[in-house]
Symmetry: C2
DNA sequence: TTTTGGCACTCTTCGCACGCGAGTGCCAGT
DNA sequence: ACTGGCACTCGCGTGCGAAGAGTGCCAAAA
């Protein structure tokens, strides 16, 4: 087990390294933090910490830098979440309240997160399994062509063209719309398939083809709606990665363009609070030199989506976690109001 | 005036520099291109080209690199557009044909462009002044709350909540929907305001407030719809910018996040064909070391939006222009079909 | 007049040696 | 268990010299 002071030394190393971006040595440590012991003692502690794998030295005779494992310990045991100051919280709230619709909320959230953390922000659109259908609309576009519009309780709208096997009359369409809505309005996505299963039976045989075409399109749309989208921003902050960044930045940019990767990344975090994944803890290897700080957010008490930031492992964890948590909280409020 | 051979020298310099990314000297030039003259002659020509401002040398006693003005001449007079090969064209077509809806078309186009040109791709969503309204839908959400859904001929759907001053009945809503559609369906965005101007007059006095609220929301939505959106991709290709890129890449990333900037950028290109803006020709100073190759595309003969790529001034102009033109052409086809 | 070969000159780049300084590890002493 | 001292290791910056690429200019040839 590591003594209390050794943990303090680790904490000091992380803090200094995050600040200076340079390997930190024993002497500098004792000067900047008053640990009450001499450099020699600190050296012993550092040697122990290195044995345990919490810190490492880039080359012999250079200072130490924290390893992923070191950051992990720091995050878990040595540092809390740094709450936002009152003015910051007000600024967040004000900025988010200016949003006019869902897209705008997400867009503003991304900007805000990127600005607060000076890192790359990722925000998932709210939706998914807990979503319910608010309304389904059917419009006739051409004799054998209809448009299906799906509106969800989170305010998202999805449309799809439906090519019918046979011409369809306005009356039938209106009838179908009415029946459809009476069954699925207010219901969860996941419940819809079983609710509409027997719907074609209520129609004339020659219309059933059309009805089931419409229904299967609806089901498809629901599934696609489940495949969540997300928005990213603040990629310019990637330039903060460090001097060696040309090699690091490329896989990160590639990963950020693969929405699938990001969604998986956010999805992995099951923790109810703020989740931190450090360096190699990220499954995607392009992100092995980054840390991801994420948290769920949602309108009610339930989390309906995730948001977070991607930055260098050498980041200000307490501050970032604080910002992410605060933003999630206020976005939740905004969503609940609208 | 510049002699024919001097232009050939400039062309050779541009080609070599684009290929090698290194300043090109007189000797290397005569070796790689058989100009039929000696290095000394080429040196004289280079001196003349430098006097005219087409090329420059980074330091004394290094090779020459083209200036923005040099690239400009190259693009205008010395190089044509390199057409895509037949297999490439087939690949483009196949890839785009897999798209399921408008978003997907745009997304695929971005990927395609980024891959073909190995640069950052920008695609504007089709829409704008020539767009027409396909359908307007009104849904009751709560007693005094309605949802307005706007569907355009390009397949885009926009929705907006409307808070009414007074409760509104289903019947009134249906009535309004019918009247609204009979007036605006099929009409251009720009014509809508005058078409609905006198609509409230057909309603009971106590309903007029609600009606005009709905109408003004509709007009707002149309305006916002006009503010076009765009999608970008291939940012990982920014790492191709060169060795010195840390400083260059940052303003570019910042510019790419400002959709307004990009829209202005694309909007500036009035040329009916492929437009190339080189280096300082770009108004936004973050993009002063990039070139933008763009072109309009559209479903019919008319261009409804733009697409293009952003890359280093040192780029393969003929190839890039060919790729951009080809993609625009096939996207137009796809849009026309759907 | 244009082209060419030659030549001197300018700079950048690279390798190398050197010294400095930060930092380490170890050990003996408190 | 902590501390001070000491020898050792490297990385990093500096200065110098050689190499090489490229230029500009000039006088001769076409």
């Amino acid at each position: 087990m590591l003594s209390e002071r050794r943990l303090q030394v680790l904490r000091a190393i992380v803090q200094d390294y995050v600040g200076t971006e340079e390997p930190v040595g024993s002497k500098a440590l004792t000067e900047r933090h008053n640990l009450g012991v001499s450099p020699a003692t600190v050296r012993n502690d550092m040697a122990a910490l290195e044995d345990e794998g919490f810190i490492a030295q880039p080359h012999t005779s250079a200072g130490r830098i924290p390893t992923d494992k070191g950051y992990r310990l720091f995050v878990d045991k040595l540092a809390g979440v740094k709450p936002m100051t009152a003015p910051e919280r007000r600024a967040i709230q004000n900025f988010l309240e200016g949003a006019v619709d869902l897209d705008d909320v997400v867009a503003r959230t991304v900007r805000l997160l990127a600005q607060l953390t000076r890192q790359v922000a990722v925000v998932q659109y709210p939706s998914l399994t807990r979503s319910t259908v608010r309304h389904v609309e059917l419009l006739s576009m051409a004799p054998a062509r209809a448009m299906l519009v799906l509106i969800t309780d989170t305010g998202r709208v999805e449309q799809r063209m439906v090519d019918c096997p046979a011409p369809i009359g306005e009356a039938t369409l209106a009838d179908l719309r009415a029946r459809l809505n009476s069954r699925v309005a207010g219901r969860r996505f996941t419940d819809v398939p079983s609710l509409v299963e027997d719907l074609p039976e209520g129609f004339d045989p020659e219309e059933r083809g059309t009805v089931s075409t419409v229904l299967s399109t609806l089901l498809e749309t629901l599934v696609e709606e489940n495949e969540e989208r997300l928005m990213i921003g603040g990629t310019a902050n990637l330039t903060r990665f460090g001097h060696d960044f040309p090699l690091v930045i490329r896989p990160v940019l590639e990963a950020l363009e693969e929405q699938v990767v990001l969604l998986k990344l956010l999805g992995e975090a099951k923790d109810p609070g703020v989740t931190v994944r450090i360096g190699h803890e990220n499954a995607h290897e392009g992100l092995n030199s980054t840390s991801v700080v994420s948290v769920g957010y949602g309108s009610g008490g339930e989390a309906v989506a995730k948001l977070g930031v991607v930055g260098p492992t050498r980041m200000d964890y307490p501050g970032t976690m604080g910002a992410v948590r605060a933003v999630a909280r206020y976005v939740g409020q905004i969503l609940a109001e609208s």
